[in-house]
């Protein structure tokens, strides 16, 4: 392949779903929304799952057969809270900035994003940080191969929106003015913004059919209206039990949809969370503390929430925990009493529900995106490696490829992202080496 030909290849993504159906045979399949299958068959075509079943499941004529004997196959992992992609959000000018979009600050060549693929993450909610009461609009990414962020977007099928809204309370967002100095001030500033958004909506309503009477467009207010209309999920950083309850109080007042993130002390108010009917996304780090609001962090949170009937997802908060050890987060939850089933569900389907994408991702079921992992062993075994990551029927990570292995294991150069041409000209590079 010549350089010129490689340049023409720019038009099409490198890893594309095969034209022919593909049948993956012989693996133990963990579909998540159904029982495990000992010697299973997964058929995918056109980037979608055609069928999942036991040995003997019909394989379409002409399908490419892939032997996965001895391996384990499960859905791609859904990370509901991450900072990969060198994401940025709000700046230091104000504590609430609902106009700011993570979309506008994503580097798809960030090595952390490549490492997330190596860790088996196929869908990720990339968020701005927690140093603001509201740090901006988050973006949901499908970790396809791509050269620009647009290649990785995952719009909500019903609303067309590209992500949620990141909010925080507790200590991270307490700073010098104009930031709040106390918890009560934090809540007051948030309420003030939502009241403004209510008034903005009223003005739009009052304008009726007369465009001249419409208020001037306000990007921040538009973002908050999407939140209050339930189209944009609030992803809320919150740790202490009283801060968790404050989120629930504001949620009740303004009617937004919310997922509680981190929730170090959720084990103290699990019943209240369950009664509010909101989901939690949890993180398991290796010790309590590091800051005051995580003093009482406990690995039992997942188990306690499960028992209370709360929907529990997981997140890496990469770089707080590492994308390549995402499975381990669920392992620690099981260590502290969560069921294996709900822990694996938490890594996949629960995350999909939290991102309003459960019809498309999160489990191995016909019609869903062909996002799956080939594992060397059980997902909760510390010796298990992600061998392959597939997104929409295309292999985006393969541990046996040297360039992928670098991002899985580390080594010299792993701190740098792919140069702009590398992944687009991957085939070209391989051929060069083969000569």
């Amino acid at each position: 392949m010549t350089v010129l030909a490689a340049a023409f290849a720019l038009a099409a993504p490198l890893a594309v779903a095969q034209e022919k159906p593909q049948a993956f045979l012989g693996a133990r399949i963990i579909p998540i929304t159904g029982p495990e299958i000992g010697n299973g068959v997964l058929v995918v075509h056109g980037g979608k799952i055609v069928s999942v079943g036991p040995e003997g499941t019909r394989i379409p004529e002409g399908a490419v057969r892939v032997d996965l004997s001895g391996k384990v196959l499960m859905p791609g992992l859904v990370d509901t809270h991450s900072h990969v992609g060198s994401v940025e959000g709000a700046d230091a000018s104000a504590p609430l900035q609902p106009d700011v979009r993570a979309l506008d600050a994503i580097d798809v060549r960030d090595p952390r994003l490549l490492k997330a693929r190596a860790g088996g993450i196929t869908t990720v909610n990339v968020m701005p940080g927690s140093g603001h009461l509201l740090s901006g609009q988050t973006v949901y990414l499908k970790l396809r191969e791509g050269s620009v962020v647009e290649d990785l977007l995952l719009p909500n099928p019903k609303t067309g929106l590209l992500g949620g809204m990141k909010m925080a309370n507790g200590t991270n967002s307490r700073r010098k003015p104009p930031f709040p100095g106390t918890r009560a001030k934090s809540a007051a500033l948030v309420r003030e913004q939502y009241v403004k958004a209510q008034e903005y909506r009223q003005k739009i309503k009052d304008a009726g059919d007369d465009p001249k009477k419409l208020p001037a467009r306000d990007l921040g207010m538009e973002g908050l209206l999407e939140v209050m209309d339930g189209k944009r999920m609030v992803h809320h950083h919150t740790h202490r039990h009283d801060d968790i309850v404050t989120v629930l109080r504001l949620q009740k007042e303004f009617g937004f949809r919310v997922t509680l993130h981190h929730v170090s002390e959720a084990w103290k108010v699990a019943d209240e969370i369950a009664a509010a009917g909101v989901a939690c996304s949890i993180i398991n780090v290796d010790s309590p503390g590091g800051k005051l609001e995580t003093m009482d962090l406990a690995w039992k949170t997942g188990a306690v929430l499960e028992k209370a009937g709360v929907l529990v997802g997981f997140h890496t908060d990469d770089p707080i925990t590492e994308s390549r050890f995402f499975l381990r987060s669920a392992g620690l939850a099981v260590r502290a009493g969560m069921s294996r089933e709900k822990a694996l569900y938490g890594l996949t389907q629960a995350g999909a529900i939290i991102l309003d994408l459960e019809d498309r991702i999160g489990s191995l079921a016909p019609g869903k995106d062909a996002d799956f992992l080939v594992l060397s062993g059980d997902p909760l075994d510390y010796r298990t490696h992600v061998l392959e990551t597939w997104v929409e029927g295309a292999k985006v990570f393969d541990l046996s490829r040297e360039k992928d292995r670098l991002y899985a294991v580390g080594g010299y150069g792993a701190g740098h992202g792919q140069p702009p041409s590398a992944h687009l000209c991957g085939d070209f590079e391989d051929e060069e080496q083969g000569r």
Partner: protein, 406 residues
């Protein structure tokens, strides 16, 4: 050698203070016992008397008068080859952060024993996973930040906890040693080394003057130069936290010039200069396997411990220093991760038991289950490395110091 005798005296006092309370006789029976002094024992029994291991073997009969305790798996008490817990606390507020004094770049006179809090919650946290010995003290972040110590993870006061009061002198090379403050040094790598060499030369001259001067004409005592004297005499190794390959080679260069015992710490790019490290006979306390790969650790590999070990270099694993969340890592988990990246199960276990003891020079006392050694044991309800196993008991010098299922 007035300096030396004083250092030894201090060590002796500490060992006496650490003297044991009255112990009962106990027997620990494990379906599998990893003694780290031979092959694993099936139905292994460890007899403990007066805080020491009395006898160990497969299928031993438990004599009368021994309280018996059972577990699926028994290992030696784990050794965290480098941490800062006890000087750093879990609240991460100014009042519980004593691992770094930023007022000067070279302060080897800062003693770990004057700052260690044995009742720090993070110490108990580590103990709950089977960690019985920690090498802790001043952290990275200054050219020479202070001394380190070795302690057992129990005791109400430092004297009851300490094993070695002055274990090493902690240094940092690379960007971690630099200051960005205008007009202050060291601002570059080369300047840092110039400062360090100048101080070591001063310490050489000081020692020689103190020894040869006529009585009454000795130079004034300098705590700083005496502490460096312990390094120059080889009593306290220089523990150098360093990541980049070029900085590792610089550490080897300085160690060779002053004939000091060097222990490399972190060493993210050690795999690039493993031949030089092996030739220098230097041990490496490898960064946590799950450490964050940012800045100077951007090229770290999860296989470094395995690569170094295969090259004939002695390696130990560590929980390291964490400035935020989690406030400490746990060596048990770091070893588990290393066992998934090139180390065998027993090699990974050795990196947090007997090999860690060797790197720290305490292998005669701890690190394996052998008669005469401290009865420090960790009990698990399954493969200790499994994410879903639990540490069900920790024993230090014959005393059960942690129970439950952590």
């Amino acid at each position: 050698m007035r300096g030396e005798s004083r250092w030894r005296a201090l060590a002796t006092v500490a060992l006496v203070l650490a003297g044991a309370p009255a112990y009962s006789q106990i027997a620990i029976r494990g379906e599998t016992v990893y003694t780290m002094a031979g092959p694993a024992l099936k139905d292994g029994v460890v007899l403990v008397k007066d805080g020491k291991i009395e006898k160990v073997g497969a299928g031993l009969e438990v004599p009368a008068g021994y309280r018996e305790r059972r577990a699926r798996v028994v290992t030696p008490g784990l050794i965290d080859a480098h941490t800062v817990v006890g000087l750093t606390g879990y609240l991460n507020q100014p009042q519980d952060q004593d691992q770094l004094e930023p007022s000067a770049p070279i302060q080897p006179e800062l003693r770990a024993i004057d700052a260690y809090n044995p009742e720090e919650r993070l110490v108990a946290w580590l103990r709950g996973f089977g960690v019985t010995t920690i090498h802790t003290g001043h952290g990275p972040g200054a050219l020479v930040s202070g001394q380190t110590m070795i302690a057992k993870t129990r005791g109400k006061d430092v004297d009851a906890a300490v094993v070695v009061p002055v274990a090493m002198v902690a240094a940092t090379l690379g960007s971690g040693a630099r200051t960005t403050e205008e007009g202050k040094s060291p601002g570059t790598r080369a300047k840092a080394i110039a400062l360090l060499r100048a101080e070591l030369i001063k310490a050489q001259e000081y020692a020689s003057k103190r020894e040869t001067a006529e009585k009454g004409k000795e130079p004034e005592r300098s705590l700083r130069l005496e502490a460096l004297g312990a390094v120059l005499r080889g009593e306290a190794p220089l523990l150098v936290t360093v990541h980049r390959a070029n900085d590792i080679v610089t550490a080897l260069r300085v160690a060779q010039e002053f004939k000091v015992r060097l222990v490399l710490d972190g060493a993210a790019e050690a795999y690039l200069v493993k031949d030089q490290i092996r030739k220098a006979g230097v041990s490496v306390i490898v960064h946590p396997t799950m450490a964050r790969d940012f800045g100077e650790t951007e090229n770290m590999s999860k296989e470094t411990a395995a690569i170094l070990r295969r090259s004939g270099i002695r390696v130990a694993l560590q929980s390291g220093f964490e400035s935020y969340v989690p406030k400490t890592r746990v060596v048990l988990f770091e070893a588990a991760a290393a066992a998934a990246y090139g180390l065998t199960f027993e090699e990974a276990l050795a990196a947090i038991t007997i090999d860690a003891a060797r790197v720290l020079g305490i292998e005669k006392r701890v690190g394996s289950i052998e008669p005469g050694k401290d009865a420090d044991l960790a009990l698990y309800d399954g493969d200790p490395f499994a994410w879903t196993s639990h540490c069900v008991g920790t024993v230090i010098q014959g005393e059960v110091v942690s129970e439950g299922a952590n």
